[in-house]
């Protein structure tokens, strides 16, 4: 199960090619620091009473855990007017794909969001494109379509109610909600 899906490398190539073609706009710093994918020498998570293998993927607070036992980010950010995944997000998304492949009874809702610039209905469509980018990645990584639902909120539910560049950066996002 830890093996990569055979379609995964070609998808990586596709995504990277798309990024290059799109000119890869946003090189600014991530508004929220990603968890370091470095192997942690830290102690193992507290042993669970039921050592079922799938329990290690989630903690009692509902967090999705990476191989190092730390919560995986569930929020992914996008450039202005863009719906292309950032290359730096692909490793975390692949870890989510592994979790979903191992836990076929779990499903997710991917919420797409936009900043306030642009018309509301166009942003509703753009938010759907962002959620669909995540969905396409997960499908290509072998996750069942039955496990993924998308919903766009457009610009209606900002993470940051401000009207600055940094608020807009935080609002252009897709969020994976596990159920």
């Amino acid at each position: 199960m830890q093996m990569q899906s055979p379609r995964f490398p070609s998808l990586m190539t596709l995504v990277l090619a798309a990024l290059l073609m799109a000119g890869c706009s946003s090189t600014s710093t991530e508004p929220v620091p990603e968890p370091e994918p470095i192997e942690q020498p830290a102690p193992q998570p507290v042993p669970q009473p039921e050592p079922e293998p799938e329990l290690a993927d989630f903690d009692s607070a509902g967090n999705v855990l990476g191989p190092d036992g730390r919560p995986l980010t569930r929020t992914f950010y996008f450039g202005y007017d863009r719906a292309v995944l950032s290359p730096s997000d692909l490793a975390a998304l692949e870890l989510h794909a592994q979790v979903l492949r191992r836990n076929s009874d779990r499903s997710i809702v991917v919420e797409g969001h936009c900043d306030e610039r642009g018309t509301r209905e166009y942003n509703l469509a753009l938010g759907e494109r962002r959620a669909d980018s995540i969905r396409s990645f997960l499908l290509s990584a072998g996750v069942s379509a039955r496990q993924i639902e998308t919903v766009s909120y457009g610009e209606e539910q900002p993470a940051d109610p401000g009207h600055t560049e940094s608020a807009w950066e935080r609002n252009r996002r897709a969020v994976m909600v596990y159920r």
Binding site: T119, E121, Y122, V151, Y153, H163
Partner: protein
Amino acid sequence: MQKISFVSVVLFSACVSLLVSSATFAAGSLDTIIIDRGVDEPIRVAVVPFKMDPSLMSETNIADIVGFDLARSGQFDPLASENMLSYPSSRATVFFRDWRILKTAYLVIGSARVDAGGRVAVEFELYDVLGERLMLSRRYSVARSQWRDVSHQIADAIYEEVTGIRGAFSTKIMYVLARNAGSPDAVYQLEIADSDGERSRTLFSSREPIMSASWAPDGKRVAYVTFETGRPSIVIQDVNGPYRERLTNFRGINSAPVFSPDGRQLAMVLSKDGDPEIFIMDLATKSLRQVTRHHAIDTEPSWSPDGSSIIFTSDRGGRPQIYQLELSTNLLERLTFRGDYNARARLLPDGKHLVFVHRTNGVFHIAWQDLERDNLQVLTQTALDESPSLAPNGTMLIYATQDRGRGILAVVSIDGSVKYRLPSSSGDVREPAWSPFLDG
């Protein structure tokens, strides 16, 4: 004789201003602040404070409501009551010479009294001062609850008699009031207020977002988008009745509902088959017809006034631009070429002019385009201007913008000369939709 001494003028105007301010605070719906006063030489009109029964003195004087309506049009400059030389309420006490001295072109006088049945009898007369001629005279019998309705009807009648254009003061404005959007305490309300921002009431309230409200052409129903099911869905609802129905709740986007001019069909955006496409629903049979087929974003439909074509936003050319689709022939034409973001278009009642959201130098404004001459004019100067909606007489448009980080509504005349703002003290207001003419 109704010549009034200085002292009584001061007392009277103090009384009027007290009434106006108390009415403003009591209603608390939308405030109205005039920014630019309109055309260079507005029509000078005097609307004399109506003679009112003592039992009606708790109401705002009809003359104040009428005068404020006319002032907001930008085409009229009502004379302040403290500058009047007399306060006639019948022809016998009108001295045209006084009004000529004040350079008043038109004079409005009137009265309101409670009749034996408890209804309010309102009458007014409109005079041409230079010609010393009665132009219009009307009487109304209304319930007291219709006080502001009859005032707006009087303003409509005066506006039409003088300008030849049907007045739109008796119309309503629908908008979304949002508090704490995006937070766990978020509340969204669909509100309907008078065209002057007064008397708002809540049509629907939700913890989830509300979007894209639009009016049926008879003004009796509205359609809007709610997220109450966990995803966007289209709802149709009576304005004054119990009927409420969820029309669509497909996977993906269900949004941007707009009634056809005959009220029998609803254009909408659905992404149930993968990407956003424009569909038309027959409201009697609920059957759906897909009218766009493109993998790009197709959204924000609106109808041409004759119902023969759909105007919509598409990024099929790489950037959002406005297209027109002829429904009988499927002939598609791109309408906008200037700038890299043109969206959410509405046609004027003449079918030859377009208003839409236009991005220029990274800033979003409302623009106006003559489709025959192909000239584009930017109507607004603020940032993040969106959701333009036309008054049914085509003279004004209302839109959403921001003022010091707050969502407010604003109105601009189609010639750009008059501007006023409608903030709400209750929260962010947005997505205004001007009602059609409301008869009766």
